[in-house]
Subunit: 354 residues, 2 copies
Amino acid sequence: MPATPTITPVPIDEPSSTGSPISIRDVAATAGVSIATVSRVINDSHAVAASTAARVREVIARLGYVPNPMAKVFSSRESHIIGLALPRFHGEFMTWLLHGADEEATRLGYHLMMTTIAKGEDGSARRHIIGSLLIDALLVVITEQDDPLAEDVLASGVPTVVLDTDMSAQGLDSVILDNERGTREAVDHLLRWVEPGSLYFVGGPPQNFDTQQRSKAFAAALESRGHQIQPGQIEMGDYSLEWGKEWAIRMSRRGKLSGAVLAANDKIACGIMHAAEDLKVSVPDQLRVIGFNDSQISRLVRPRLSTVSLPMAEMGALAVRTLVRRIEHPNAEPHCAKLQTKLLIRESSTAIHF
Amino acid sequence: MPATPTITPVPIDEPSSTGSPISIRDVAATAGVSIATVSRVINDSHAVAASTAARVREVIARLGYVPNPMAKVFSSRESHIIGLALPRFHGEFMTWLLHGADEEATRLGYHLMMTTIAKGEDGSARRHIIGSLLIDALLVVITEQDDPLAEDVLASGVPTVVLDTDMSAQGLDSVILDNERGTREAVDHLLRWVEPGSLYFVGGPPQNFDTQQRSKAFAAALESRGHQIQPGQIEMGDYSLEWGKEWAIRMSRRGKLSGAVLAANDKIACGIMHAAEDLKVSVPDQLRVIGFNDSQISRLVRPRLSTVSLPMAEMGALAVRTLVRRIEHPNAEPHCAKLQTKLLIRESSTAIHF
DNA sequence: GTGAAAGCGCTAACAT
DNA sequence: ATGTTAGCGCTTTCAC
């Protein structure tokens, strides 16, 4: 309005240079309309007369008014924010999950905000976390089926989808990997060269859901061929390079570092390959190795690591879609979706290129 | 109160099984106290009589009352949430940043929530993002000095710290890497074997702040030795393996793939090493290579990659501390903090172990 | 098309 | 130690 400030008097209601931030009331008073109208303009809801809207917008710009997001969220009872909670220790592949989830969330009109979950074994800190997240709904990565966090989530009443572990029996929508297919492909592939008896599975943490699924699928694939799993053929450890090395060295001492091995992730597989190199065991000629994850390192190591790839981005996107469906249908039956894994054949399992 | 429910009648105010969620008023009425007392119990503020507190807590548990976080935040005008906004395409080393920031934030009584910033060149989507984040303060990773996001952040009035680019001149607290030291160490190290004229710098994106700083430090280190940088001695590309390969192949064609090279990150360095391997150029004997980041791959490739390590976790922690200081002193002079980088010598730059 | 007014569920003076 | 009460800045009926 005051394009000529020396002539037009400053409106008496103008908040000028008070310390407090400009509110919707200031805008309304300055523009000579009601706060309801300002609200409508902000949200371009209902029909506001073009001239009125223009005037309000001009005042908003002039006053530098920014709607208070806290008030808006409180009043409308929705933040349009989806929280993604995951364990503190996460790596590269979470990046892909995040990307997939983020894009899908944006597409559906939500913001995705990620947060880590502290480890605290008592769980008290974690419980607190859910209550202080200003979110409409929650995506949570849980890797062990008995994680008490599930209860907290359930009690909080926040619409939730669990990733990476099937918790549909506990009443939570889940999105998990179908490790069965990738594992079977890997086993079938390796059995072209080695006997079932010299095929090993080197797992991650025994409580880890994926490791459990993968070792089960491994056993099933061998058993379906009429082979009985021998002691020592399946070992658990953790998801580290060191564990892979340790396993390989241990096998070497027993004179058994040959045949083929399926590792529960690429790091373990790399550890095994490193140890093999040091021990002068040739990969893939004497030892064939396959990992899980299709991580960056699997493409960088030599020989290039064959690996079972996981559709992490799709997992993120599917989880978001599932979550939004849950928001819209709070009383639907909990459901668990599975995503296929797939073997990528590179150099560590066969010198022959396909 | 009703330890004997068959005798004590249910309080008339009890909300029983109404559809609406339990509010602080329901608890107050049921416990026979005022909402202020309930609020005090929830926040264990002031002194509440032990007996009263116990009764209120019992009612809270019985009713399954969960304070509405939106209301709490709106009313107290603080969410205790620090937002961490970063570009969509980020990798492993962001994990370390996140860890450092997360821990420090927790220590200082805040939650850290990460979000990605959409790329949209018009910047409209990004502007919108800041206003819809329910945060007390913002950590934002900016990698190019002319990024318009800086203005949006400034205009929003949210206390902010910029990471990775010095924006103190624009009025924003910043935390950056001091690339100078690590770069100088790397140059000095390599000059033990090669002439200044056969020392190359292979950069990332030319607009990238870190790449600029590193190439400047590289030039300065050579010039301080009396060497004049020659055309082609510093090249820019992007932060990819492919660019490293391309550079190496290009140099090889000119018959110049020898000497030493400092790459602006580990991926570029790995690309160069891969190409060298294919081209039968031995690393480190014929070509010495150093990267930046101390990423996982730098430890996994063979020969192990010498690299300039960046204190990402410390950077995150320092950024949070700086941010909290900014919250407490909104009018302090904008300040830029620098964190030292350091050369890690491994196999790709010298066969001799230190 | 616009305004008046009633909350949303808390926190935080201020009173008692 | 506890209660009363006045907001916080919006959204949203419901009138007009």
